[in-house]
């Protein structure tokens, strides 16, 4: 027989036993909530869990209560997870609950899978419905908590990336029951404005329970219907929610969302400068091409039309000659002289005729070389002959007879 000096000792002993027994140290139990009281000062919830024959006192502290995705109510069938202990002050045997799920709702992962399957079948996640995220949004709408790291991560990233941005925050609960209605109100609000070009829905990482508000069907449909592109950055890296699937773009983190919603300033500036010089170059190349075409046309005319002209003049000369043979030698000579000078003049126009007589001309970088001045040893020159051209390298340079290079 044990002898206890005090009731306190007895209660501690009993608690020791309860905390060492795996069945009472960590348990889950199903029952119906009754006599629920949530104290305004502490925020803790006290209630009775009962079935047809039995009941047990329960307490759920504020921090755990806030993590629930529903509000417990009397009469609700729930599964409590927690531990059993005796509250020494009253001797009451009770459950300290740290999680609660509504009975009959299935577990959260299963619910999410079902919703995913349903919305996917309806085509809400289809790629062809995704809106394009603009490069330079006039204004970025953010739906997130106004406190905590997330909004500041976004602002810091934007500051680093592009100083020319404007951001409007719609403060929303990102956990618990208020989450989905808040986020939906934010989407409605931004949609009612005409200056918001992209919306970011953001919150940090958390458990499936923490993120449960983003697995809401009504919210998913509102994101789908939103005419403004939505980037979802809910949770961290590996956390996926229905909100991520239905959004136009999913960012693994709030920081990544900030990177995706606006182009990097330096990159945009460099890219635009490149485009500008490409445009100028394209026009210059076009002008050069046209000039070369014009030159080619001029050359072919100089070669072609004078010969035709010369031939026709020859023919008429013959005719005139015949006529003049009958008319008198003096006149013939005079005409012959005049026609010949015209023909000579015209033949002079064609450089090819000059080349045919054994001349050639030199060019350097497509410009005719007319003097040795400006030439250097080693320069490459093109010599054009009547039937082709050769490329030569300058070995010696003479000005007059004097060697100067």
């Amino acid at each position: 027989m044990y002898t206890f000096e005090s009731v306190t000792q007895l209660n501690s002993y009993a608690n020791e036993l309860l905390s060492n027994d795996p069945g009472t140290a960590s348990l889950s139990v199903t029952g119906e909530i009754s006599n629920l009281t949530i104290y305004r000062s502490s925020g803790h919830a006290y209630f009775t869990l009962k079935d047809a024959e039995s009941q047990i006192s329960c307490v759920m502290f504020k921090s755990y209560l806030q993590g629930l995705n529903f509000t417990p109510k009397d009469g609700m069938k729930v599964v409590l997870t927690g531990s059993c202990a005796i509250y020494s002050a009253s001797g009451r045997f009770q459950i300290k609950a740290f999680a609660m799920a509504q009975k009959g709702k299935g577990d959260l992962a299963e619910q999410m899978k079902l919703l995913h399957r349903k919305l996917s079948a309806e085509g809400l996640f289809a790629q062809e419905h995704k809106l394009h995220i603009p490069v330079l949004p006039e204004r970025i709408g953010v739906i997130s908590s106004p406190v905590g790291a997330v909004i500041h991560d976004i602002i810091n990233t934007l500051n680093r990336r592009n100083p020319f941005y404007s951001l409007l925050l719609y403060p929303a609960a990102v956990q618990g029951e208020a989450c989905a209605p808040d986020v939906m109100a934010g989407l409605d609000y931004f949609s009612s404005r005409d200056d918001i070009d992209v919306i970011i829905i953001a919150r940090g990482g958390g458990s499936l329970e923490d993120l449960w508000g983003f697995n809401n069907e009504e919210l998913a449909r509102k994101i789908y219907d939103c005419r403004i592109p939505v980037i979802s950055a809910v949770g961290h890296e590996t956390d996926y929610t229905i909100c991520d699937y239905v959004a136009d773009l999913r960012a693994p983190t709030p920081t990544a969302a900030a990177e995706l919603c606006i182009g990097k300033y330096e990159e945009l500036i460099t890219n635009l400068a490149n485009k500008k010089s490409m445009l100028n170059l394209a026009l210059m190349n076009y002008a050069e091409l046209q000039r070369r075409r014009l030159d080619a046309l001029k050359d072919s005319k100089a070669l072609y039309s004078p010969m035709v002209y010369v031939e026709s003049l020859r023919t008429s000369l013959e005719a005139v000659k015949k006529d003049l043979d009958n008319s008198g030698k003096a006149l013939v000579n005079e005409h012959r002289y005049r026609l010949k000078s015209i023909i000579d003049g015209i033949e002079m126009l064609g450089p090819m005729n000059v080349l045919k007589r054994g001349y050639s001309y030199a060019t350097k970088d497509d410009r005719a070389v007319t003097e040795v001045k400006g030439l250097n040893i080693g320069d490459n020159l093109d010599f054009v002959f009547s039937d082709g051209s050769i490329n030569v390298e300058v070995k010696d340079i003479y000005e007059g007879d004097a060697k100067i290079g």
Binding site: I155, P171, L268, I269, L272, L279, L283
Partner: protein, 75 residues
């Protein structure tokens, strides 16, 4: 891009790229080429303007009044 539509930077850049490609072929008439070039210069200057026209502003919505209030970025 009609002038009264919302100016989209990426659309302007894409049109500019197409203009450069088209002009580079050298197959357009002189008039068309000059028109393309003029349009390209206009797009580039619109992009220039767009790149830095937004003034940095961070605000938060007051959900009761729906008024914008300044938001302190360093907290």
């Amino acid at each position: 891009m009609a002038d009264n539509d919302k100016f989209l930077y990426e659309d302007a850049i894409e049109e500019l790229s197409r203009i450069v490609d088209k002009l580079s072929t050298g197959k357009c008439s002189l008039d068309d080429s000059l028109d393309l070039y003029t349009r390209g210069v206009k797009l580039a200057s619109l992009c220039d303007k767009k790149l830095s026209e937004v003034e940095k502003k961070i605000a938060v919505i007051n959900k009761d009044s729906l008024e914008e209030e300044p938001f302190a970025e360093d907290q």
